[in-house]
């Protein structure tokens, strides 16, 4: 299983517009191209997950994630906000890079936790935040995943 396979180019955004956590989550969800009602339900679920503890894992990276009935397969997105946003991250630093993961409650191939684990592993690589910060296009993001062997 390679992370690259899960990222659709349309679900990669290198310049988010939002300036606060809620708007940013909505913009991130928008990358999945769901209907309006589903987006609303997903936003509430992700907010509730954030209330249990921020998914900002430090070094400028956050991994908002949840399972929800509104998707019928594992969906992922990546987005960047160059200036950073206060995401109540573990290290109290602004977050610049966001990986969204949403999966249905039941998956035939059970990819949710392995994908979450791989993204967390990728995020821990000391070189990754710097590399993400200088991405010029979506292909470079996909190439970085491949180079890092995740």
């Amino acid at each position: 299983m390679e992370l690259r396979e899960f990222f659709h180019k349309d679900a990669i955004e290198l310049e988010l517009k939002s300036n606060d956590k809620d708007d940013l989550l909505k913009e991130l969800i928008g990358l999945l191209k769901l209907d309006e009602k589903s987006e609303g339900i997903l936003f509430k679920m992700l907010k509730r997950r954030e209330n249990l503890g921020s998914t900002g894992i430090g070094r400028g990276i956050a991994i908002p994630h949840c399972r929800s009935l509104v998707v019928n397969r594992l969906r992922v997105a990546f987005a960047r906000k160059s200036e950073g946003v206060d995401f109540k991250a573990i290290d109290d630093q602004p977050v610049h890079h966001f990986f969204l993961i949403v999966a249905p409650p039941l998956e035939v191939s059970n990819q949710y936790l392995p994908v979450l684990g791989k993204i967390a592993q990728f995020a821990k690589d000391p070189e990754v935040p710097k590399r993400l910060a200088v991405l010029r296009n979506r292909d470079e993001f996909l190439d970085l995943l491949e180079q890092k062997g995740v």
Binding site: I41, K44, R48, R49, G53, L69, G117
Partner: protein, 119 residues
């Protein structure tokens, strides 16, 4: 979408989250180690939210929901490509293709679960 169906979906999602945190060792480890979540507190908070959402259901729907949930576990299931993902039996084509399909509360004729049509 029917407002009560929206509440049912949220309850089901919260219960999924609770089950994974409380009963799935791997999920619990990931949330504790990677995201520093206090699992006991999180489960309590989810229980509180679930109870709050269940109180918003009408008595008739709440009763039916409680009956199905206690007997069959998941009370709300998706319909994907015409299949009920609770019992994996085909549902009538008219329901699966109706553009206003989630505007009403519907049940699977076979397993009785609440249906949410995706796609």
């Amino acid at each position: 979408m029917h407002p009560q169906l929206e509440i049912l979906l949220q309850i089901q999602d919260l219960k999924t989250q609770r089950r994974e945190l409380a009963e799935t060792e791997r999920e619990r480890q990931v949330e504790e180690l990677e995201f520093h979540v206090n699992v006991e507190e999180a489960v309590q908070e989810l229980d509180h939210k679930i109870a709050e959402m269940e109180a918003q259901l009408t008595p008739a729907i709440r009763n039916r929901y409680a009956r199905i949930a206690s007997g069959r576990g998941r009370a709300v299931v998706p319909v994907i490509q015409g299949i009920c993902y609770g019992c994996f039996v085909s549902i009538p084509t008219a329901l699966a293709t109706d553009s206003a399909r989630n505007d009403q509360i519907r049940h699977c004729d076979h397993c009785g679960r609440f249906l949410y049509v995706i796609g």
